[in-house]
């Protein structure tokens, strides 16, 4: 059983309050990894209206973008089948999570 602070550079922590866990709280998620290659596009050219403002649709979305160009291809890491495993607790100093219940209270 690990102790001390959770290394968030190597571990993922999320808040869970459903029937996958006995008690609501913060849990370390673990599972398999996968990667995909993704083409990253620039913002393209945004159409403007007669006043020079960016043209948006009725919901305010920048819907009218033309000529986006692929500027690079990146590798995106994916969490595959990840599930909550070890429960962790907020650190009393407000920075990160701990494997043990802090002495001055639970989360």
């Amino acid at each position: 059983m690990p102790s001390g602070k959770v290394n968030l550079a190597k571990n993922s922590v999320a808040f869970v309050d459903d029937d996958r866990v006995d008690e609501p709280g913060f849990y370390v998620f673990t599972g398999d990894h996968d990667t995909t290659e993704v083409d990253v596009q620039d913002g393209g050219e945004v159409e403007t209206d007669s006043k020079g403002n960016a043209a948006t649709d009725e919901q305010g979305r920048l819907a009218f973008v033309t000529h986006p160009e692929v500027v690079e291809t990146i590798t995106v890491n994916h969490e595959v089948g990840w599930k909550p495993t070890t429960r962790v607790f907020p650190s009393p100093d407000g920075d990160g999570f701990m494997y043990e219940i802090p002495e001055d209270g639970e989360d």
Binding site: S12, A14, F15, F29, V38, V40, P68, E79, W82, G94
Partner: protein, 173 residues
């Protein structure tokens, strides 16, 4: 030329995204987005209660981890672990059945509560949420971004604040 999806077709799509036995992601995560982010890849339009990252944003690199001021994007999610901020896990059974809403079919999830803050979040002015596929920083994709329906900004600037949202997922015909 006319074209549209059918309700039964949309309902079938909605069994995959999210929820249902064949879903790509049995668990999704809600992540807070804040005014520290930017709408476009060039950081020229700051986010607010009526603006979210645009369609070409790449969650794992542009939005979530790249610092503001970069031509790549923003870095507008609060730091995981500061003030007890963490993404909220949304299991696929949280999503309700599809129902007609406006020009589409919608699945609405049970109300989701982020953990109560234990101190101010690193980026304090929350203007909405992203639905993402990963629990950890620098991974996964964002299916989308949304402001709050009332266009509000929630100040997560102290201990004892609980952010609650009710996400929905809609495909239009």
């Amino acid at each position: 030329m006319a074209e549209n999806f059918s309700d039964e077709g949309l309902d079938r799509i909605l069994t995959y995204t999210p929820g249902g036995s064949g879903t790509l992601d049995t668990t999704l995560f809600l992540a807070a987005i804040t005014t520290a982010g930017f709408q476009t890849r060039s950081p020229d339009t700051a986010l607010d209660g009526t603006k979210v990252p645009n369609r070409t944003t790449v969650w794992s690199t542009d939005y979530q981890t790249v610092a503001g001021g970069s031509t790549r994007g923003a870095g507008g999610e609060p730091t995981i672990g500061t003030g007890a901020y963490a993404r909220k896990s949304v299991v696929n059974t949280d999503w309700g059945a599809a129902a007609t809403n406006g020009s589409g079919r919608r699945r609405t999830a049970a109300q989701q509560s982020f953990a109560q803050s234990t101190a101010a979040w690193s980026n304090q002015n929350v203007i909405g949420t992203a639905i993402v596929t990963a629990s950890g920083a620098g991974s996964g994709v964002a299916y989308g971004y949304a402001n709050f329906d009332d266009a509000s900004t929630v100040a997560m600037n102290a201990a004892g604040i609980t952010l609650q949202v009710t996400p929905y997922w809609q495909h239009d015909i």
